[in-house]
Structure formats: structure tokens, C-alpha cells
């Protein structure tokens, strides 16, 4: 039920800021290893950029589908995280033991480095999609809730 905002200033600012925020989110995600930030912050930033553009331009699509897709994307993000964790468990090591990930030609510490990046991507997807999904839910599409 969010109608597009009718101010040109809002539209222009949203158009400018959305890609900048997304770029910053990517930076935060990738540099989580050696600067503050990581999956969760990046995910929230992504969600913020999407929420910003929704607030500025409204939602045209059928919202039920969008909301459901968002939560499914969230599920996929978590499955990515847990899948990276499950792989070592199936191979006989511990759950989430990235040191035992089957990446050839690397030391355990490097494997852990890439494992961390992998799960951070999963967290980013999960958090961004779920935050947007919660936003959709809260944005009050359900005026017709049975009384």
C-alpha cells in the first residue's frame, strides 16, 4: 500500500543514493575481514537501500508475491550459510569447520578465510531479504484482516 512519493527532490535523491548505499554495502561485506563491518551490517545497508527506493517510488508489483519471495531469499541465504557448515559435517569433521572445506590447494587458515567470506555472503542475503520482508509485512497491506 505504499504510494510513490510525489516530490521530484525525493525521487532524485533516492535515485542517487540507492546505488551509493548498495556500493557501500558491498564494500562493507568484502572488507569485513580487515575493517569494521561484515555480513550483518552489509545486509542491513542493502535492506536500507531497497526500503529507500520503495518509499520513494512505491510498490507496483503484487505485494504478496514480493513479500514471499523476499522471505524465500532469506531462507536461501541461511541455507547458504548452513550449507557451508553442513559440508564439513558430512565429510566427517565438525559443523561449520571451514578448515575442512574441500577447497584444494590452500592452507587451513586460508580456507577459513574464504569460509568466513562465504558465510558473510549468506548472512548478507538473509538479513537484507528478511529485513525487507519484515518491512513489507509492517507496511500494512492487510487492511482486510478479518475482524
Amino acid at each position: 500500500m505504499i504510494r510513490p512519493h510525489d516530490s521530484v527532490i525525493v525521487h532524485t535523491l533516492a535515485r542517487v543514493f540507492t546505488p551509493i548505499i548498495q556500493l557501500f554495502a558491498l564494500y562493507v561485506l568484502i572488507h569485513g575481514h580487515d575493517s569494521p563491518g561484515g555480513g550483518f551490517q552489509a545486509g542491513t545497508l542493502f535492506a536500507a537501500s531497497i526500503i529507500l527506493s520503495i518509499l520513494a517510488f512505491g510498490i507496483q508489483d503484487s505485494q504478496t508475491v514480493l513479500e514471499r519471495r523476499a522471505i524465500i531469499l532469506g531462507g536461501i541465504g541461511i541455507l547458504l550459510y548452513a550449507g557451508i557448515g553442513l559440508l564439513p559435517l558430512i565429510l566427517g569433521a565438525e559443523f561449520l569447520n571451514y578448515g575442512e572445506l574441500p577447497i584444494p590447494g590452500m592452507e587451513a587458515s586460508a580456507r577459513r578465510h574464504w569460509g568466513i567470506l562465504g558465510i558473510e555472503i549468506g548472512v548478507t542475503i538473509a538479513v537484507a531479504a528478511t529485513a525487507v520482508s519484515i518491512f513489507y509485512s509492517l507496511s500494512g497491506r492487510g487492511e482486510g484482516e478479518g475482524k
Binding site: 569494521p36 550483518f40 509492517l138 500494512g140 492487510g142 475482524k147
Partner: protein
């Protein structure tokens, strides 16, 4: 007991925020105000944990070079930070769910006051 107010400002602020939050959650009848109280209570616990992690004359827990051996005294304690990152996420998740309940309640009873909702439930 009195010197605690001078030497532990963080702890005093923690107690004020925590008790304020719990008080509002229990006493205030407005549902959104209760959630503001919940937010204050959760952040006060973060304050408590973060002050545990402080080390005098230390820097942020990002290691500068791999050449020299790390002296743990030079960096802030990372463990409470990690715990509190999780707690922040838990807080915002609880907030989302509770606001969803508030919206559903408002749709049903057209008010945000707990006593009025109770009155309409009868």
C-alpha cells in the same frame, strides 16, 4: 557505595537505563511505549557488556600487522563485542515481531492502550 557514581559512570547509566526500560515495559499501558522501554532495556545490557570489554590505552580489535607477535593488552576484548552484535540482532528481530503484533492489535481493536483493548475484549 557513593564512589561508584564517580568511578563507574557507565554502570550507573546502565542501571538507570535498565530500570527505566523495565519500569516502562511493566507500568506503561501504551503498547508502543512498552516497546520503547524494551529497546532501552536491551541497549542498557549492551552497555553493560561493552564496558566489560574496555581496556585502558588499548585500540580497536583489528590487528595491525602480522609481523610482530600480538600483545592482547593492546587491543580491546573482542568477545563481548561479538556477543553484543548478536544481542542487537536479537533485539531488532524481537522489535519487528512485537510491532507486527501491535499493528495486528490495532487493526482489531483500533487502539494502542492496553486497558482499552482489555475493555473491548470483554
Amino acid at each position: 557505595m557513593a564512589d561508584i557514581f564517580f568511578y563507574r559512570p557507565h554502570f550507573v547509566a546502565f542501571i538507570i537505563l535498565f530500570l527505566l526500560g523495565v519500569y516502562i515495559m511493566v507500568v506503561n499501558l501504551n503498547l508502543v511505549k512498552k516497546l520503547i522501554g524494551m529497546y532501552l532495556m536491551q541497549t542498557s545490557i549492551i552497555l553493560f557488556f561493552i564496558t566489560l570489554a574496555v581496556k585502558k590505552d588499548s585500540t580497536i580489535p583489528i590487528l595491525l600487522s602480522s609481523a610482530t607477535a600480538v600483545t592482547p593488552e593492546a587491543y580491546a576484548n573482542p568477545l563481548p563485542h561479538v556477543l553484543m552484535l548478536t544481542a542487537i540482532v536479537v533485539g531488532v528481530s524481537t522489535l519487528g515481531v512485537s510491532l507486527a503484533m501491535v499493528i495486528a492489535l490495532y487493526r482489531q481493536y483500533n487502539t494502542l492502550e492496553e486497558d482499552q483493548i482489555l475493555g473491548k475484549m470483554q
